[in-house]
């Protein structure tokens, strides 16, 4: 059984109907290849690392699909078509990844806005980077040196 997963980034004001449509499109894409939609996780609202389409927030959805092994699976092209054409209005970004055969289905997701309950006014610019490389145990000198981007570095 081949497993694929899709992480979808949508606007934060996505409606329930649109979520349903997205889920249906992915399920149809899976069914056309003789498989099924394994899981459809709604991650919720997140503060994005950089503004996407001039929005600082977005919603993530993770969908996993399982299809039987066979000649030339077209599920990937079906999924991309679903995301880029059919759901183009409410899908900003998406990435499709093939999961390894024996890999576990557990994953850790980043903390959403809902769980941390932090408003954007609490965040200071640059606060995104909470720990510096030196604090993480890497040679602080080396990392700091690289960050300076000085001319002497390019010897």
């Amino acid at each position: 059984m081949l497993r694929y997963e899709t992480l979808v980034l949508t606007p934060p004001d996505i409606t329930r109907e649109q979520i349903g449509l997205l889920e249906n499109q992915i399920a149809t894409a899976a069914k056309d290849s003789g498989g099924r939609l394994m899981q459809f996780d709604e991650w919720g609202k997140y503060y994005l690392a950089y503004p996407v389409k001039k929005n600082n927030y977005g919603c993530y959805f993770l969908a996993r699909v399982e299809i039987p092994e066979g000649p030339a699976p077209k599920v990937v092209s079906d999924l991309t078509r679903a995301m880029q054409i059919k759901c183009v209005d409410y899908v900003w970004r998406h990435v499709i990844k093939k999961l390894e055969a024996g890999a576990s289905l557990e994953y850790t997701r980043p903390e959403s806005v809902a769980s941390t309950a932090k408003s954007k006014f609490d965040r200071k610019p640059g606060e995104f980077f909470e720990r510096s490389a030196s604090q993480r145990g890497f040679g602080g000198d080396q990392a700091a040196e690289d960050d300076q981007d000085s001319i002497s570095e390019h010897e």
Partner: protein, 95 residues
């Protein structure tokens, strides 16, 4: 016939000493050491990946993080994937 005397500049000799010091410690690739660590290597695992980027969001080189070539490339690929999905930034201040 005059002989050409090649003297090494101080800048160059300092660089050599610095490079030797940097490579003095034998670093172990943490991914090769444990399977749990390998399982963390995922573009969704943002907290884990953040340990491998600098304050500016640049990917740490393997001579600093101690990763083997294979895992450094995998790590870089996952970080870039996370960046494309707005889970990690490309540069420090986007605003």
């Amino acid at each position: 016939m005059s002989k050409l005397k090649l003297t090494i500049s101080r800048r160059l000799s300092n660089k050599k000493v610095r490079k030797q010091k940097a490579f003095a410690q034998k670093k172990v690739c943490r991914f090769e050491a444990s399977a749990d660590y390998r399982a963390n290597l995922d573009y969704k695992n943002v907290e884990f990946l953040r340990g491998f980027i600098t304050e500016r969001g640049k990917i740490l080189p393997s001579r600093v993080s101690g990763n083997s070539v294979y895992y450094q490339r995998k790590l870089a690929r996952e970080i870039k994937l996370a960046r494309s999905m707005a889970l990690l930034p490309y540069c420090p201040m986007h605003r």
